[in-house]
Amino acid sequence: MKLLLIEDNLDLAEDLAEYLREENFVLETATSLEQAREKFMLYEYDLAILDLGLPDGDGMQLINEMKSRQPEIAILILTATHSLEDKITGLNLGADDFLTKPFHKAELNARIHSVLRRKISNGKKVLQVHEIQIDLQARQVKVCNETIKFTRKEYDLLIYLIDNEKRLLTRESIAEHLWGDYIDHSDNFDFIYNHIKNVRKKLMDAGGHDYIKSVYGVGYKFQRP
């Protein structure tokens, strides 16, 4: 998968690039509208991550240009503003998703995966991870060919864990992913433990491995034992 990251802050761009390359994405970066134009004129991308506040103009205008040049490109907007208007305009112009800074990298990663899955599934909307098979359209999980009932939150949690396989997910990031900013960062996160426990139990009861490793005091990690 080839990604174009358009972000004017070099430090932030480099940091995100490093992270996303670890996710096995091929990634190029642009720090201005001009650079971004050059890149998508020459190369094809599956997804562009676009920061709206660029030094030489509003990133919004780039959406149309990219879409007309590469109609299949997926676009994920990053913004620092609490603006509903920006969000609506961006999505109307053809952006696929929208993320407000500051965000967890795991969240960005999950969104990228989700957008790409929606875009380029070629009809087969199935996610296969070892013995776990997830029908993304029906939101159905099968382990060792056995269908297991997951609640909505459990399903979302499982997808989030799988999208960030092998990475440590902090409890805060999980809570935010599942409940948005209603989660208080001062709350204790026992309720996440309950969800994790249920997911782990359901996977194992159906004959799956114990994929979810807990890191004491910090969070959880999805990896093959």
Partner: protein, 422 residues
């Protein structure tokens, strides 16, 4: 004690009239005295002429005395102590049948040892009329003057004090940090011009200070975001590494948490700045019920975890005139606040009725005075929130012409929001 306030011009007119009145009364008294003196002198002159004539008659041919008008001469034994004396009498005028004022002088003449009492009367009518005329002129003039002054005050105050009123209006409409069309106030009155000038100078000085301070906070919170994001990202990557000990992970987690807290603080402050800068201008009439229901749906699970029940009674027609983003933040922050401070196993009540929106939850009494609840960084005990949620709510209400009230009664915290009147 509150003193009654008067308009400046009314006061000026009051004192002006008071001085005029004193001047008039004094001059009237002086004029009256002068008139009396003048009258007396004229009459005395006439009396003396008559007395000299009587003396001449008495020595030359006394029988002529009887033919003298208004004169009575009689012999007396001796001269009383106080003479001459004067007396005003009314005498009927046969011709006009009117009572006319005469002055009667009683005096005594000693003519070769014989004492005569002489009573002479002279017409004083015209002289009195002259004196009355003075009063009749002065009183109407005073009255006309009073009427003209009061009327003039009434008419002039509009014209003279208009610049002053415009300056006052400008001052009262001024809102720090909100650009207002600064209308130039032109006046030919020196004092008002000075006042206006000083006001403008003071305003620009305050504005300058204010914007500098604001720019500083804005820059601070904005410039901090990127380094904080990098700290967060780097610590997150560190946390993902497999080689670290549990102890190391814990420490990195603390750094990560603190960076996150700072980052949240920064974006909350940014939001406040944006609200203050009126960057949310997409004001329209929004029905609140669908949005509140959406939010309730989002928090139901979290509430259930805390054993909280959410009860809502929503009026479908309830609406606020507000930017949609701000309404969203407003409801979110109030709900978050209720979630955070509710006691376990209690009920959060949300209701809209008529123009009123209210949300209440049971909980402990505030550890600080009630009126400080909307202040920045005021928060309940032992809770690690950043303490900006309610001050954001207050700011949103402020820019959206909404009033917000907080009350704590019988263990229940209650917030009420309704449109400001007028």
């Amino acid at each position: 004690m509150k003193h009654k306030k008067f308009r400046l011009l009314s006061k000026v007119v009051f004192f002006y009239l008071l001085i005029t009145l004193i001047t008039f009364i004094t001059s009237a008294l002086i004029l009256q005295r002068e008139a009396n003196k003048h009258m007396h002198n004229i009459l005395e002159d006439r009396f003396q002429k008559r007395e000299r004539y009587i003396m001449r008659i008495l020595t030359e041919n006394p029988e002529k005395l009887a033919r003298l008008d208004h004169t009575l001469v009689s012999k007396v034994e001796r001269i009383p102590e106080n003479f001459p004396n004067y007396q005003d009498t009314l005498i009927l005028n046969e011709e006009t049948r009117e009572m006319n004022t005469y002055r009667k002088k009683t005096t005594y003449i000693n003519l070769n040892g014989t004492i005569y009492k002489v009573e002479t009367s002279k017409a004083a009518e015209e002289l009195y009329k002259f004196r009355d005329d003075i009063r009749n002129i002065i009183v109407p003039i005073l009255a006309v003057l009073v009427i003209l002054t009061v009327l003039g005050n009434y008419l002039l105050s509009g014209y003279l004090l208009d610049p002053f009123r415009r300056i006052l209006k400008k001052m009262s409409q001024y809102n720090l940090g909100q650009p207002t069309a600064s209308r130039q106030i032109k006046t030919s009155t020196n004092e008002f011009d000075q006042l206006n000038h000083l006001y403008e100078k003071m305003k620009s000085r305050i504005e300058n200070d204010y914007y500098q301070l604001k720019e500083y906070t804005e820059n601070m919170s904005h410039e901090l975001q990127t380094p904080l994001a990098i700290i967060q990202n780097k610590t997150e990557s560190l946390l993902s590494e497999n080689k670290l000990s549990a102890e190391q992970i814990k420490k990195i987690k603390v750094v990560n948490d603190e960076a996150q807290a700072l980052s949240r603080l920064g974006s909350a402050l940014n939001l406040i700045t944006k609200i203050e800068n009126n960057e949310f201008q997409n004001i329209r009439t929004l029905h609140t019920a669908p949005l509140i229901e959406q939010h309730i749906e989002k928090i139901e699970e979290i509430a259930a975890i805390k054993n909280l029940k959410i009860e809502s009674s929503l009026d479908k027609n309830h609406s606020f005139s507000i930017d949609p983003m701000l309404l969203d933040i407003l409801i979110r922050n109030l709900l978050k606040n209720a979630l955070r401070y509710s006691s376990h196993n209690s009920v959060i009540k949300i209701s809209t009725d008529g123009e009123l929106f209210s949300i209440s939850n049971t909980g402990e009494k505030l550890s600080f005075p009630e009126e400080e609840i909307f202040n920045r960084f005021k928060k309940g005990n032992e809770k690690q929130s950043i303490g900006l949620g309610l001050s954001i709510v207050k700011k949103i209400c402020g820019v959206s012409q909404l009033a917000i009230q907080y009350r704590f009664m019988e263990g229940t915290h209650r917030f009420e929001i309704f449109p400001k009147k007028g």
